[in-house]
Amino acid sequence: MEELTSMKLDVLREIGNIGAGNATTALSVMLNSNLRMESPVVKVLDFDGIPELVGGADAIVAAVLTRFSGEVSGMMLFILEIEEAKNLAGTMLGKTYPEKFEGFDHMDKSALKEVGNILMSSYINSIGTLTNLKFRTEPPAICVDMAGSVMSLPISQLGQIGDKALVIDSKFLDNERPINGFLMLVTDEMSYQKIFESLGIGC
């Protein structure tokens, strides 16, 4: 994973671009708002560096995780800092949360899960369209807890193949206000290889 050429990084960035572009459109329609996306950043990080992307290992976040399997397999995470999650769920359900926040109820979680589902399905589907590889996504799960803890599942998945994570970090803007959250794509080396090959990039 360390020896990614700049060509491959460009490809990953472009995949991120298309994926996040589609995802943003889907979410804009759903929320009836003006969402925009910053150009994705592809990062190779140590495991300890991943939670730092959302304010550190002990920052409370809402994370929606979906898995996909088939010709390529892996998982995708949509992570929001807790205040952003409150904003988003509030917008969707037309409610405000009390000053002293006690946690999300079933309905809130369901709403956030649906946002994550739409975002990540459109992201993953655009990879499928681009590469012509066949895979299917599973229904997502949500978890609201410390960033370090929620990341443990994707990190241990990555830990089976190495000590680094490749993160496609796509940031969103809501009416030009940056949303403090990101999408993270986690797949194994073989899947990356297949993606590259399907796009005609040898190794």
Binding site: D48, P51, A57, R67, I142, D145, S149, L153, S156, D163
Partner: protein, 178 residues
């Protein structure tokens, strides 16, 4: 009246050292000497294992994320796995003169953070970690004195070797001291 900064400097001159918090990362292990404390932040399915001795001022912690180094090809980072991580920590403690037969363990973590509909082998990685850690400690004849494992929430742990107490901190819950 004495200036507080001045007093602090005086303390430093006297060789009085502020106690430190030693932070153990993911797939990492470290030692700690009283009065310092040792911590690891945001355990999910990973497990934090503290090894300490009632008769020593040195303790250690390892933050493992996978059950076994034998199932995986790329296993150069030994602190990543329950088997090699604990083994190495014991070795390090022994090098510092802590006797193996005086060691006790306190463990926390091994949660299942995401609950998917339908059975899954991935979701149970926390459970597999718990089993692997207990097996390894049993093999080394190190008793698990206290544990806070499983369930579906994250944990931050802080061990104070002076009192031998492990503080388990969870989001939205009062601290638990074990």
């Amino acid at each position: 009246m004495k200036c507080p900064t001045r007093r602090f400097l005086n303390l430093l001159e006297l060789g009085v050292r502020m106690e430190q918090m030693i932070r153990v990362g993911i797939a990492d292990l470290k030692l700690c000497k009283t009065p310092d404390k040792i911590t690891t932040v945001g355990l999910g399915s990973c497990i934090g294992i503290v090894l300490y001795s009632a008769v020593s001022d040195i303790c250690g912690m390892v933050h493992i994320m996978l059950p076994s180094s034998k199932e995986i090809k790329n296993n150069s980072n030994r602190a990543k796995f329950a088997d090699t991580g604990i083994e190495d920590l014991v070795k390090l403690l022994e090098e510092k003169g802590v006797r193996r037969n005086s060691l006790s363990a306190k463990i926390a973590g091994g949660a299942t953070m995401f609950v998917f509909s339908g059975a899954s082998d991935l979701g149970s990685i926390g459970e597999r970690n718990i089993k692997a850690v207990k097996d390894e400690l049993a093999t080394l004849s190190i008793p698990v004195v206290m544990e806070d494992v499983g369930a579906d929430y994250g944990r931050t742990i802080i061990f104070d070797n002076a009192t031998k107490k492990l503080t388990v901190r969870c989001a939205g819950k009062p601290d638990k001291i074990i």
